[in-house]
Amino acid sequence: MGEGAIKAGCQAYFGYPITPQNEITAYMARRMAEEGGVFIQAESEIAAINMVFGASLAGARAMTSSSSPGISLKQEGISYMVGCELPGVIVNIQRGGPGLGNISGAQGDYFQATRGGGHGDYYSIVLAPASVQEMYDLTREAFDLADKYRNPVILLADGILGQMLEPTNIGKENSASVLDIKKDWILDGCKGREPRMVRSLLMDEGELEKHNWKLNNKYEKMKTSEVKVETDKLEDAEVVLIGYGTSARICAEAMEIARKRGINVGLIRPITLWPFPEKVVSENAERLKAFLVIEMSLGQMVEDVRLATNGKCPVYFYGRPGGGIPEVDIIVDTIERIIR
């Protein structure tokens, strides 16, 4: 993710230590120095996200990373960034919660990530990688999406992915798009132009409502243009598993075992959690026996699946919270019970 950020032209990184994402901070400390970028180990996650705010305001591609409890602290800053229309990339390597929880991989922050997370009425694009390659690729892409919409982008992975070693193909060139984006809104001193202000306090009558409708137009564009999803073996499927990130890898294994036992199982893996790939879910809902949603939580994404199916087919759930990992055998047994 660190290298993906650098290849995307990330010029400033601000972090605070928290397990299980310390590898990113340490990597960025070394690499940003090599690349002549800005690295600060901030005094808190709150300071780190506000440094991202400042760096982004000054025109830089900026990033911070943390894990669940630290991401809670960043919510204030993320809300302000959305209000001020500032791009930025925020990585959440999720751990178990609530509270200090534990340092195992978990998927308990889905609601927080996909429903804005901070105060106010907003959304951010949420990308959920399921491999080390995808952590690299989606990090690169996150910077482009953030600049395209002038909105923060959340990368939502988990502690298992965060500790994983896999062969990864790293492109040599920096993203070309870095050069193409003209930022005519930054604060860099008003030389040769009128002074600008960047703010989220809009006190005049109707001003904030108007602003929020304008932001809503961006969310609508994200919904029509940015949905990413991977599907497998939907054509003949009777039961379709839905999982993201680490859970999707477990689902893929369960699907293979179920198919060996003669049950036609398919897989939907949302890559954008917001906007949620509701179309592929709703299109398949009427002809399926059931969806089975697998999460490392008490059940969060399952609500989006239920909304998308709109009662057209049963939606089952199996998940484990607090760092528990869903078991392949239980998934396969559950599929068999659904079929029966």
Partner: protein, 245 residues
């Protein structure tokens, strides 16, 4: 006819909405005059606070943003690190700087961030209706200390500038006041020195300005001027706190 007095180019023509006798207008103007005199209007970025001065961006005629409550030093850090040749300053009240934003303030100073902070201390939360500030004086009555600030319950007025003066990263810190023409002239000199410190890449500079809040103190504007002298200065003595020049 020779023009002797006019609005600084770094101030907009917009009339401010501060209460009669409030010190913010004076401090805004001093900053604008200093920026004009240093010729840095076109490379200055200001960070406005949460509180009464949240509308500062309407009054200054250069690039200004607004940070979350207490976060201006972190936002300024982000801007300055990306654009080291620009002049970046924050304008913060006592609640912003010395309560909710204490960590951001202390660590910006400790890193020796090459930014300038203008810290307006009027001992009360003005915008929200006169609650106790971290700098509220002992026995001072506020909306949340109706019997007067009792240190046993609410602690002591925090001398944050003295605390920051202990940090290796701090380069220049001075406390001034704007309750008299004489003090105001000194205040401007200190603000100018703070900006010059940044221009010379020397590191962290902060000017604490004791300022009037007649509305929050429930006194008239004339009494407020005396109030600064008689009540605030004994707790917050004026003068240079740290100067590594």
């Amino acid at each position: 006819m020779k023009k002797l007095f006019s609005r600084p180019g770094s101030l907009t023509a917009k009339g401010n909405l501060y209460c009669p006798g409030c010190g913010h207008g004076i401090v805004h103007r001093l900053i604008a005059e200093v920026i004009d005199e240093l010729g840095i209007r076109e490379r200055t970025i200001g960070v406005a606070p949460v509180g009464c001065a949240v509308f500062a961006y309407d009054y200054w005629n250069f690039d200004v943003t607004e940070a979350a409550h207490g976060r201006p030093p972190a936002v300024a850090t982000g801007i300055k690190r990306v654009l080291p040749d620009r002049v970046v300053f924050t304008y913060q009240g006592d609640g912003d700087l010395a309560a909710i934003g204490t960590a951001e303030t202390v660590h910006a100073a400790n890193r020796g961030e090459n930014i300038t902070i203008v810290f307006v201390n009027n001992g009360v939360y003005g915008m929200t209706g006169g609650q106790m500030a971290p700098t509220t004086l002992i026995a001072q009555k506020t909306a949340t200390t109706p019997l007067g600030r009792d240190p046993k319950i609410a602690g002591y007025p925090i001398k944050i500038s003295e605390a920051l003066g202990q940090l290796e990263g701090s380069f220049y810190i001075e406390r001034v006041a704007v309750n008299s023409p004489k003090n105001t002239v000194k205040a401007k000199k200190a603000i100018k020195k703070a900006f010059q410190t940044q221009i010379d890449n020397k590191g962290f500079s902060l000017v604490e300005v004791l300022s009037m809040c007649p509305t929050g103190w429930e006194v008239n504007p004339i009494e407020a001027l005396k109030w600064v002298e008689e009540k605030m200065v004994p707790t917050f003595p004026l003068g240079v706190i740290r100067d590594k020049t």
